[in-house]
């Protein structure tokens, strides 16, 4: 997941090289929408694993909120892309995120109790940091449609809240 920025950079580079025009190498709104919704779905999967495994009240409350918030964000995103007539398009960054998340799920799946709680929450801090950084440095600046850009900015505010919530929880679990 830490490689998301690198992957986006690689994708941008690839697109730039293949198109031969730097300005045409930016991510399309269809790709940006796909990356954003994939990031949300992956965090919902992680939260569902936490709800299956954790008995810690605070960790469960956090995970429940991740399911609720990311579901709400993705529902809004779906309605927006429909309105804008944009079909989210799979891409290298989405695939890389998905692959990294599957590895993390498998790794966390082998842990239990306090060790799981700590690893889950620490990963949530790292994951939200990575996604938020990608949003602010790459996805938002590259979004062409003003409504999509504004929606991503709201998403970033929500996810920064998650990052702070996770950091707070991580400090309590130490």
């Amino acid at each position: 997941m830490r490689s998301l920025i690198g992957n986006i950079a690689t994708l941008l580079l690839t697109l730039t090289v293949s198109s031969g025009v730097a300005v045409a190498g930016k991510l399309s709104d269809a790709q940006i929408a796909h990356i954003a919704s994939t990031a949300g779905e992956l965090d919902i999967n992680a939260a569902q694993q936490a709800l299956d495994k954790s008995t810690n009240k605070e960790v469960r409350a956090f995970a429940e909120n991740m399911v609720k918030d990311h579901t709400a964000v993705n529902d809004q995103a779906l309605a927006l892309v429909k309105k804008l007539n944009v079909t989210p398009e799979d891409n290298a960054t989405s695939r890389s995120l998905t692959k990294d998340a599957a590895e993390k799920l498998a790794k966390l799946g082998r842990l239990s109790g306090a060790a799981f709680d700590k690893a889950y929450v620490e990963n949530e801090v790292a994951y939200h940091k990575t996604v938020n950084s990608a949003l602010s440095t790459t996805l938002i600046p590259n979004a062409s449609n003003a409504e999509l850009k504004s929606f991503l900015q709201t998403g970033l505010k929500i996810f920064r809240g998650h990052e702070q919530h996770a950091e707070h929880l991580a400090s309590e679990l130490h």
């Binding site: 909120n65 609720k68 918030d69 709400a72 964000v73 529902d75 809004q76 709201t154 505010k157 929500i158 920064r160 809240g161 998650h162 702070q164 919530h165 707070h168």
Partner: protein, 81 residues
Amino acid sequence: MRVTINDLAFSPAEITVKIGDTIEWVNGDFVDHTATDKGGAWDLAIAAGKTARLPITTAGTFAYYCKFHPGMTGRIHVEAK
């Protein structure tokens, strides 16, 4: 006294009320929030698109935040009647 929530912010972020007043938070966002007193006196759930109310019974200054998005903060000054 009404506090609106839009785009992850309480507005106005700082208010002054009197004992006996009721504060209502109107959540214009599509995600749930809370108004949670940092001192533990109250913890109010404010569902997406809904309004939640808190009757004020104690004088003092209360700093509060949203448990789900802790960057959202506000302050309430409660004066005696």
